[in-house]
Amino acid sequence: MAAITLQGVTKRYGNVTAVQALDLAIREGEFMVLLGPSGCGKTTTLNMIAGLEEISDGTLLFDAKDVTRLPPHKREVAMVFQSYALYPNKTVAENIAFPLRLRGVPKAEIDRAVASVAEQLELTPLLQRRPNQLSGGQRQRVALGRAIVRQPSVFLMDEPLSNLDATLRLSMRSLIKRLHHQLKATFVYVTHDQAEALTLADRIAVMQGGIVQQLDTPEGIYERPANTFVASFLGSPQINLLRAGLPRPAWVAEGRDVIVGLRPEDVARPTEGLTALSGRVELVSPLGSETQLELALPGASITLRVPKDWRVTEGETLAFGIDPARLHVFDAATERRIAP
């Protein structure tokens, strides 16, 4: 186990700064997710932790040890790639055994370790196959096996589930979560998928433009987004962000230019204590358990998610209520969250 500390870590490619003075303290045994759109610097950050990219500036510590200039194999990290990166000419068993073989572990011990990992990941019947004879999910399990076999203190995962179909992604997600519980190692997981981030993470670092926009627990990120970027990156459908058209909470100073955010699900039937609003229903999209609505308010258009028993029809005028306490308020100029 190891805590990972990034102090002012910067990555420059010529004139382009991919990661800018990043400070991030990942706790021992923590599941940290780096979340962001492509090009936000999350994979570069992961590669710098792995040692696959040189750090242009700043310091990287594993516990108290400075590893900034150490090559990958001296950092005792394991990595899982989106492309699985299995050695195509090696069998499943050989793939899993490879890191141990390179370390000169005795053969009997390797065999024992491979057998135990295969058992854990349900790969035993596949040990003699080659990667091209496996399905995507099986390949990713082999990649996980190759990572856990040498019991590293740090696991790095670069979008490991992005190449899998939706069903498989769900089951692999729980597998990774179980592995984290069992191994108690530090996990750093890169993804652009908010659902993965929210379900897996102890804490999430939302990144954009090479900068961490917010570092918090999944609840914190969702409930108290630090700025409009974080607010709109998490949540599906996206949060409604409007300069006008939504009621301003009473504590917002009169005349201050703000953006008001409303999560589509934060609506209720109009009752006492809620701010009553109404709008014309433009579009109804049933989603099974819920219904997604597009609503035209005076001067704005918003998306709502309501229980299916509301039985809304297109063209009707819908009256609903919102809790002012559930509204998110951002400064219009800085786009940063402001709170009472």
């Binding site: 090559p71 790639f81 195509p88």
Partner: protein, 294 residues
């Protein structure tokens, strides 16, 4: 039911016919005719006498001492050329796979020898090796490695290697290019995974690069072997089989038998033996090297 062709089949047949006809005339007919020739005792100095002798030509050639020498020389030449070309090509491909200032220029320059016509290449190396004004003599004397000019190609122990060197110079670029293409297709993630797994540069080469190069290497081996085993131009230009029989290869023997001695029957028989040898070798390569790539 008679033969009923669909419209597509018929138009396909019409479109394929011209090529098929050309192939029949320029490929199939000569192949069959030369086999027919190889079964006759045809000597051009006695054009009217051409008895059918079954496989006597083959028998005679297989027992001929010149044939044995030629097989030995061809083997040495092919083994040296193919192995040096393959090893060098892997090295050059590795070099060109790296990004460094001027690597594009080097890429283009690399193809120059390959684009040089065979005859020009042969003449150029013959000049380099020349006993009176050759560059090789000049350089070696200047470096103090030899005391006086030598007739390099006249040394029976060196002749084959020197010709091989000229062939390597010309053939290596294409092989390197083929391997470079294969190398470029290796996913970067494999190298990154190997790095994290703890592989050294050499281990990454052995465990990632070499296995991935296998199909490319096989192509290079088969292609270079087929070229080398039948190689003729350099021998014609540089040594004409000499000195003595030091560069007396199979294709040179075929040339001598056919066009100097005008014995077309035995010449054709030799050609068939060479063709069969080429097939056999290619089959062996594919059988034993191609196996694991599937």
């Amino acid at each position: 039911m008679g033969l009923r062709l669909s419209y597509d089949d018929r138009s396909a047949a019409v479109l394929v016919f011209p090529v098929l006809a050309v192939l029949l005339v320029v490929a199939a007919y000569p192949i069959l005719y030369s086999f027919w020739v190889s079964l006759h005792d045809i000597v051009l100095t006695r054009p009217l006498r051409r008895p059918f002798v079954w496989f006597e030509n083959y028998e005679r050639m297989l027992g001929d001492a010149r044939f044995h020498t030629a097989v030995l020389r061809t083997t040495v030449y092919t083994v040296v050329t193919v192995s040096v070309v393959s090893v060098l090509a892997v090295g050059v491909a590795l070099l060109l796979n790296e990004t460094f200032p001027g690597h594009k220029l080097l890429n283009a320059l690399l193809l120059l020898p390959w684009a040089t016509p065979s005859i020009v290449n042969g003449l150029m190396w013959k000049w380099i090796y020349d006993p009176t004004y050759g560059l090789m003599n000049a350089v070696l004397v200047k470096l103090g490695l030899i005391e006086s000019y030598r007739a390099w190609l006249g040394d029976p122990d060196l002749t084959l290697l020197l010709i091989s060197n000229a062939a390597i110079w010309k053939q290596m670029p294409l092989a390197a290019l083929l391997l470079l293409v294969t190398m470029k297709a290796i996913p970067d993630d494999l190298y990154r995974a190997a790095k994290v797994d703890g592989a050294t540069v050499f281990q990454r080469f052995v465990h990632v690069t070499l296995p991935a190069l296998r199909p490319g290497l096989m192509l290079v081996l088969v292609y270079e072997t087929m070229i080398s085993i039948r190689h003729f131009d350099l021998f014609l230009i540089m040594t004409q089989g000499g000195p003595g029989d030091a560069s007396y290869t199979l294709s040179w023997l075929i040339y001598v038998e056919t066009f100097r001695s005008l014995r077309f029957g035995t010449g054709a028989a030799l050609s068939y033996l060479l063709a069969m040898l080429t097939f056999l070798l290619s089959w062996l390569f594919i059988r034993f090297l191609g196996e694991k790539t599937a």
